[in-house]
Symmetry: C3
Subunit: 273 residues, 3 copies
Amino acid sequence: MFGNCMMNVREKTPLVHNITNYVTVNDVANILLACGASPIMSDEPEDVVDITSICGGLYINIGTLNKRSMEGMFLAGRKANELGHALLLDPVGAGASALRTNTSRRLMEELKFDVVRGNISEVKTLALGSGTTKGVDADAADAVTEESLDGAVTFAKEFAKKMECIAAITGAVDLVSDGDRCYAIRNGRPEMGHITGTGCQLSGMMTAFVTANPGNKLEAAAAAVCAMGLAGEIAYGRMQKGDGNSAYRSRIIDAIYNMDAYTLEKGAKYEVF
Amino acid sequence: MFGNCMMNVREKTPLVHNITNYVTVNDVANILLACGASPIMSDEPEDVVDITSICGGLYINIGTLNKRSMEGMFLAGRKANELGHALLLDPVGAGASALRTNTSRRLMEELKFDVVRGNISEVKTLALGSGTTKGVDADAADAVTEESLDGAVTFAKEFAKKMECIAAITGAVDLVSDGDRCYAIRNGRPEMGHITGTGCQLSGMMTAFVTANPGNKLEAAAAAVCAMGLAGEIAYGRMQKGDGNSAYRSRIIDAIYNMDAYTLEKGAKYEVF
Amino acid sequence: MFGNCMMNVREKTPLVHNITNYVTVNDVANILLACGASPIMSDEPEDVVDITSICGGLYINIGTLNKRSMEGMFLAGRKANELGHALLLDPVGAGASALRTNTSRRLMEELKFDVVRGNISEVKTLALGSGTTKGVDADAADAVTEESLDGAVTFAKEFAKKMECIAAITGAVDLVSDGDRCYAIRNGRPEMGHITGTGCQLSGMMTAFVTANPGNKLEAAAAAVCAMGLAGEIAYGRMQKGDGNSAYRSRIIDAIYNMDAYTLEKGAKYEVF
């Protein structure tokens, strides 16, 4: 199943429009190419409607948002909704500033997202209207662990049901739910948190997976999470003496580039609740 | 000849002003340093005239253009023309949106470019006023291949003559023409398309080559194309098991860093029409 | 001493707010993570006050400044001052344009910086109101060498005393002074100048060091300079045949990632004037 989702990306090479932060944008572009998709970036309000029209999916990430790019997000998002394109939100730092919290809530209200992908603190902020996000990382008190898993699964399902979207909440255990079912995924390595942008990259890649699998969005989103985590495991196995987070960053993208359906299928570690 | 063009860059270390997209800007800076040039980035209208004045060349790339940077492009471009600096346009995504198409056409009308470097779809858009650009990649129907080479050479020459600039059209076969002569270059690897920004990087490096070889711009532009393609070949030869597009990206810049005049001279594969 | 400064970063994981250029921002984020800190980027005026409030330090870098980000710098800087946060300025290209010169001087007037980190041409511009900055690199005539060391030490001390901050002037020999004492540091490699952004990265990391060592800012700033230079030496020792500036860039960040207090303590090469 997950292998098929990846194959569909490689076969359809979906064009994905990214309105994302300038910190990790290059890695987002390269991981989209690595998984077989084609990236295009544009955030100018006068440009975004045309650009999103030629794409199949739109990825909105609010890291380093500004007044201009915010306007671009709403314009592009409305067009994407109108055209029935896949639409994903990564609410980077929601809870860390009023602007980020309010913007992500407004985006959720005015647009219909297929997927919201964030850490638990960011998603709780969207659910509850407040959060304890510390910067761009999840608060330790919020972290999804084996101990807190049951409650977190319930939260993910309720959030997805209420918001009518797929919730992808990543952490030590990753949760992907459409309200009815919830994948709990145990791929990945803690060292992935020592690289900037693994979350942003995952969201970009997930947009491509959902775009290429319109009839199977929940599985596509979960497949992207497994692929990213598995890439983190494979890349970790390729680390050499002296390598650090920069080499690791590069090796993760390379692991996606070389991943085939069989490897993903075999390496995916998940259960369904 | 091509070797000399590269040596001139390494000896003169031209300072190049870049107004370019935020996706691949870091790679553009690093490849400029790799080839022996010195990069500076600035797109704020109040800053660009001063910055371009201390440089020898200006590289304008319209990827992720916005209202502010567009104003910067025109201001810097006029100053560069006034000072007789080398000026290059990379019309990223011309044909993919009205803003990109119109902006690149306006830039061509109001400024005098030494070189326009793009894929065939982008350059056709500039020539014909419309195009079938799919995102930032050339449309397959437009691709320059061995079969379509004759027609493409004629198109490149006519475009260069009409626009009074050097046309550098890159694809499976790369064409570089000043209207009279046309280099057809067969360096490079298809895998270079799996990295974001190899085109942007080439345009940046080409600006340095043209800046450092003012009496020999056609050869300088062609030399940059050969150098980039050859770097792609050398880097491919250094790929290890498990490497992907991220490692390849890094190895290409490294190959430029280590390339000497003799290697370029010997490795360049081209014919002149 | 320097080892302790680094250990404090790894133990306290300070959250650092970065308003920095889009060219090297990804490397700044990754080196902050590599040294044990946590980065967050935000330059929108409506966002910066909230973001800086949850951080411990603020790093302002004027490369690719624009009207919007400039407003963000002043707003965030005032809040950081109010909260007693560590505050660092990197006046990239001061002397190269009126906007950059005036903006860095205005920032120095309106805000209280703990540290100013730049090359000698940039710092002279701040001291004298004019400079001979060539692009983003120091003018050769200004360079701090063994021959010009005595005069440069005097200049660094006087600048620090007058501006009431720590002056960190980097070059062939690096100087770090609080007005009374001056560290002259001889770590590093000339090849670090072939990578874009080693200065930006050092400034980011230095902000983390100063944030985590509030009672010991001079030593913390000097420790960051030694750590960066030592990383350049370690990374150089790991270069393979065919590696260039791109591999070097990655290996430097990796060397910071793997550096422990003992290695820094043992590898630091400095004298105090």
